[in-house]
């Protein structure tokens, strides 16, 4: 029988080497052996994605590789997630996510979504080409703590500014995360956002750093 640490290592390497089958099998063994599923997600899958982020930053991996790694990660997450016990209070952090109206690109958005999925957030994915008001309505309906928006084009980027204004007027405590090719840190600040990721790859990089922070927090709990 494989030890917990061995399975974590297989999950991690399977993600890095985008081997869906290896990841699925290791995840199943975690379940069959009644090891802690959340630990396997954080120390296996998420740890693997951190390595992927480093490889991307070093320009050894590019977006195709990252997408395949993400597929491998989801293969394991689908098996492990049902075995993660709900928090004692039963409340999950929530995020509303989508690509803004006029933008039908969603690779970056999906990579950021993965980060929230790994962290166990409840994700309200509005998809792409989302009318501006829909972000506001969904945030209010779900009382989500975070709204994450992406725009691939300069021409759609300005819509974000309107959404931020509308949301902050209604609920100033909502954290806004922006991403997309034309969005710079300066633009994000200018629009009143709380965080940003400049491209699909950067979204991974930034998202993975967030996963790393979550893992550290997990270790302290």
């Amino acid at each position: 029988m494989a030890t917990k640490e061995e399975l974590h290592e297989r999950l991690k390497n399977g993600v890095v080497e985008f081997q869906d089958d290896v990841v699925k099998q290791a995840a199943q063994e975690v379940v069959d052996n009644k090891y802690d599923a959340l630990e396997a997600i954080m120390n296996g899958l998420a740890a693997g994605m951190e390595v992927v982020g480093e490889l991307y930053d070093r320009q050894e991996y590019f977006v195709p590789e990252v997408l395949m790694c993400a597929d491998a990660l989801y293969g394991g997450l689908d098996i492990l997630r049902p075995y993660v016990p709900d928090k004692r209070d039963g409340i999950k952090a929530q995020v509303v996510i989508g690509s803004i109206q006029g933008d039908v690109h969603d690779i970056g958005k999906n990579l950021v979504k993965m980060m929230f999925d790994v962290a166990g957030w409840e994700v309200h994915d509005l998809g792409r080409d989302v009318p501006l008001e829909k972000f506001v309505q969904e945030q209010m309906r779900t009382d989500s703590e975070v709204v994450a928006m992406s725009a691939m084009m300069t021409t759609t980027m300005l819509g974000m500014k309107k959404v931020i204004k509308m949301i902050k007027e209604k609920n100033p405590n909502v954290a806004i995360m922006l991403g997309g090719a034309p969005v710079t840190k300066e633009v994000a600040n200018l629009f009143g956002a709380d965080g940003y990721a400049e491209s699909a790859g950067n979204a991974v990089s930034e998202g993975i750093k967030m996963i790393g922070r979550l893992r550290q927090m997990q270790g302290k709990i």
Partner: protein
């Protein structure tokens, strides 16, 4: 010093002959809100009407003193001709370009392009628009453009299908790109036959923030070469995003000029390419002409930095965003004229 017309200036740039001053022109969308407003049009109306397309393009250039007129403005023509429906966002007051909400083809196996695609509606409207511009604004060179096959694949298929297949189904990806390259060649030739004076191949989504440079060399470069070889000069190759790792390969595709966006380090590119290659782009189409907080002085300084970076023309690094601040836009063009009187790396002055 003789003052050249816009057409003469641009023609001389591509022939590597000395010019009076640096041109301000583009190979990508160059349509501005003030012109659309003066014509009494709405933004969503101009895209599929050849007269409105032509007149909005002409007036944008005349109002601000650009050196070329460019059509079309959006990226959905081929995808629509293939049979996809488009969203024009007719109810929106914002500047939203047409998009393809749902793609007809679900996998690379579905890709099947009719042999008469270049003649089909709505692509045929662009040829009409070019003819109108040639007749009504003969003082301008007309620029047209085509999306490269990889970028076009993202318009007709879900992009992640293609990206994930780059390694696992390489032969299928290459076959798809070949079909789209054939379409690109055929439409480009028709654009030139209709009167386009220069043409830009926009393989936007292949920068090295997306694709491995090895992948670029392996599957993108051969198609760039084939497409550019099939078009007459002048022809420009444009790629968005990170391009410093592939700039030398871009220059080895048969284009007459290379165009990059703001993520390119111009000085490094110039060092790699040498002084004789025509290099355009790299100015920020949002920060300088559009951003509410950017002053005229900052816009002027931005263009001076762009020129000092080693470009041979002031050329937006992407579609010029239509909602410009008029004072900034005028100052940008004026600075191009005055500050651009000194020779650029690949071009002397009269």
């Amino acid at each position: 010093m003789p003052e050249l017309s816009a057409k003469e200036r641009v023609q001389r740039v591509f022939r590597r002959e000395p010019v009076d001053t640096m041109p301000f022109f583009s190979g990508m969308g160059l349509v501005l809100r003030p012109a659309i407003k003066q014509l009494g049009y709405k933004f969503p109306q101009i895209h599929r009407d050849p007269e409105k397309l032509a007149r909005a393009a002409i007036l944008s250039s005349r109002m601000f003193g650009f050196d070329s007129v460019v059509v079309p403005f959006d990226m959905c023509w081929e995808s629509q001709a293939i049979g996809n429906s488009i969203s024009l966002y007719e109810d929106s007051e914002d500047t939203l370009y047409p998009t393809i909400p749902e793609k007809k083809w679900k996998s690379m196996d579905d890709v099947n392009i009719r042999s008469d695609i270049a003649d089909r509606w709505p692509i045929s409207l662009i040829y009409e628009a070019i003819k109108i511009i040639k007749k009504e604004a003969p003082e301008y060179p007309v620029g047209a453009w085509q999306l490269g096959p990889f970028t076009q694949a993202g318009q007709v298929l879900e992009l992640d299908i293609l990206l994930k297949s780059v390694y696992k189904q390489k032969a299928k990806v290459e076959a798809t790109l070949d079909k789209l390259s054939d379409m690109c060649i055929a439409i480009g030739q028709k654009l030139q036959a209709a009167g386009a004076d220069y043409i830009t191949l926009r393989e936007m989504g292949t920068g090295s923030d997306l694709l491995n440079p090895r992948t670029w060399k392996d599957i993108i470069q051969p198609r760039m070469r084939r497409i550019l070889a099939s078009w007459k000069s002048p022809k420009i190759l444009h790629i968005c995003g990170a391009t410093n790792l592939i700039i030398e390969m871009m220059n080895d595709c048969g284009a007459d000029a290379i165009s990059v966006d703001i993520k390119n380090n111009l000085k490094e590119s110039r060092q790699k390419l040498g002084q004789n290659v025509l290099l355009f782009g790299n100015f920020d189409v949002f920060a300088l002409p559009c951003k509410e907080e950017t002053t005229v002085e900052q816009a002027v300084q931005g263009i001076k930095t762009n020129i000092d970076g080693g470009v041979d023309a002031v050329w937006p690094g992407c579609d010029l965003w239509p909602d410009i601040k008029e004072a900034n836009m005028r100052a940008i063009v004026e600075t191009t004229r005055t500050y651009g009187k000194k020779p650029s790396p690949a071009l002397g002055r009269l």
